[in-house]
Point group: C2
Chain length 386, copies 2
């Protein structure tokens, strides 16, 4: 049975909200190109639906222990006992991303009508890494689809660090640019921290600035930007109605791009978080105890079926290029999770591709839009994502 | 058998380095008041000893998974099998603190001789909380003992938020002040974040500024200050020769004062960290799997013996006031850990009082000294603490 078929079957059998989601998402995709559709009404529907799921901040719980934790009853196993392949929900990340992109396109249209400007995203690409070029292509295509202006500065791999900093500085000074991202990784001879530090705090749509990271870590504060992959993981969990409060979530990987911000964001939602990494000596013992496993290790098929407990929720952030002569680009992307094994154990799982990836790009567009809203003092009725 | 007796017994029986530590610490205590003692030689001895234990930054490990983690062999259980009460090491925090304070006193003396100035710490105390008054007394006494100048601004509990901010601002402008701390908690009618934000980044000796927190979270960066209790926990572990790389450490509590910075600092040492808190539904299941448990929940006797695996290392940061009419202040402090139960299971444990507390105050002095060194461009041979 194909993944898509399983997704539809699961959606209709177990999660009516998902079938609604699929329906609305198809309408969203149509709406992106169908000017005859009543966009306002669709947007209102989305805002109503999103407002029931997306929240960045829970209440700032005092750090005292409640000896009778009535506030947090023990959650049932996400998928209950006896989960089998047929009842596993495969999250359709493309559909969730389309839904978000529709909302963004609508707000960009409102912004253009109200203030005469659209958001602008600048991308700095250094060198000719095949995977980096693909990611940048996806991001620029994403901008075009929602009406965000995109600018690309391409530099050769043998350019100097100062030339990259100069590109960033020019974008900092450009009022039509509201978000700047430097595609990582940079060539080894460059000081990544120095280059990222050159990005203005208020254009740091990747959320890597230490002040944004610190404000994400401190529950009593709020960052200007949350890294896109972390927002994508949370959005997928919230859209799938996965309870987070009190749940044991294991995050595999601790990079500033995914693992670190995801572990911090999960704690804001009152999850119990374990962070495992290359030096962890018993990763499977910890994942086997977890209600939710989020993998961003960057190793294909690292997470096997026997790493998971029955009914676990699995979010696979891995995008590992595998040689594939049959692909247009000579390679294809595979996740950190051995999907064929995990899908027989998990209650909910994201595929690769078509899971976290498209939502991550949508979150980049959302961060760029949020930045432009701040720059123009432009507010909409919409709910903040995640 | 009393805790102190067990400590000495353990020190002589199992940890020769500890008996050396006890010896040197007694010498240190003497040295603080004994000008006839060869201070330079003692300081050199301490620097040699510390240099084998204290490190803030490990190498910045790329966040890729090593399928054959030869770099991190599975660590043996800290205390081995069959740990019994008699073989449990009770860490003497006062002795470790005395050692650090001796080193600080020596460096303050060198600074005074070299630049004619000493470090200055300013404390802002609002209201008349009994426990806050005690903590401030300890901190000021600690300054006096090592030659750091202390300033105290006491404000009534019914003062305005602006009056507190004004006090902080005056200290910001005072070049003789290198560290400012606002004793928490503040009265409920005050915006804690606004007041803490008023502290200059370069005088933030408590390490609560979001930029310091972000730089602590990002392994490729380095904060100006690390919160004192987190540094104290790491110093006690490193001084006790506890391996951290790959170990499973559970941190109980997620406050910005202890839990959050400790979990971030442990990750810099490549520990596998789980953070549990008031909403965690199965805390004991996670602690029972942990090589090291660090508790900062603020609940007396929360951690029972059956929460721990045999040979676990237990660091108790809890300082919970318990009514005690026989005490001078009408109360005494007790930890989060049920000591009498835990001491029969753990291989290493800190007592309360006399464990993390004195080292935390020593770290405040160390942060103040580091700040003054930066302000005066003054360097010594000494090893940075933790």
């Amino acid at each position: 049975m194909s993944g898509a078929a399983v997704a539809l079957l699961a959606a209709t059998r177990r999660r009516p909200t998902t079938s609604l989601s699929l329906f609305l998402s198809r309408a969203a995709r149509a709406g992106l190109h169908d000017s005859a559709a009543p966009a306002e009404e669709k947007a209102r529907t989305r805002r109503r639906r999103r407002s029931s799921t997306s929240r960045l901040l829970g209440p700032d719980i005092p750090d005292a222990w409640d000896p009778l934790p009535r506030a947090a009853p023990r959650p049932p196993p996400p998928g209950g006992a006896g989960v089998d392949y047929g009842s596993t929900t495969i999250i359709d990340g493309k559909s969730v991303a389309d839904d978000i992109r529709f909302q963004i396109a609508e707000e960009v249209r409102q912004m253009k009508n109200a203030v005469g400007n659209v958001p602008g995203l600048a991308v700095v690409l250094v060198g000719d890494r095949r995977d980096s070029q693909s990611y940048v292509r996806y991001k620029i295509k994403g901008c075009e689809d929602v009406g965000i202006k995109s600018l690309l500065a391409e530099l050769p791999g043998n350019c100097t660090e100062d030339e990259v900093v100069d590109s960033v500085s020019r974008f900092n000074e450009d009022p039509s640019v509201h978000g700047i991202l430097v595609q990582l990784p940079l060539p080894h001879h460059m000081d990544e921290e120095r280059i990222l530090s050159a990005i203005s705090l208020d254009k740091d749509v990747d959320g890597f600035h230490p002040l944004n990271v610190g404000n994400l870590a401190l529950r009593s504060r709020k960052p200007l930007f949350v890294p896109c992959a972390a927002k994508a993981c949370l959005e997928l969990l919230l859209q799938s109605r996965i309870e987070l409060m009190g749940k044991h979530v294991t995050v595999i990987g601790r990079s500033k791009v995914v693992g670190l911000p995801t572990s911090l964001l999960l704690q804001r939602h009152h999850a119990t978080v374990s962070i495992i990494h290359a030096f962890t000596t018993n990763p499977e013992e910890i994942t086997q105890q977890s209600d939710i496993v989020i993998s961003a290790a960057g190793v294909a098929n690292l997470v096997r079926g026997n790493w998971l407990k029955k009914g676990a929720v699995v979010i696979d952030v891995g995008t590992n290029p595998i040689e594939d002569p049959t692909s247009d680009y000579g390679y294809r992307l595979t996740g950190d999770v051995c999907f064929e094994e995990a899908v027989r154990v998990a209650s909910v799982i994201t595929p690769v591709p078509g899971g976290v990836g498209p939502v991550t790009i949508a979150m980049l567009l959302a961060n760029t839009l949020d930045s432009a809203k701040r720059a123009y003092g432009f507010a909409t009725e919409s709910q903040e994502l995640v």
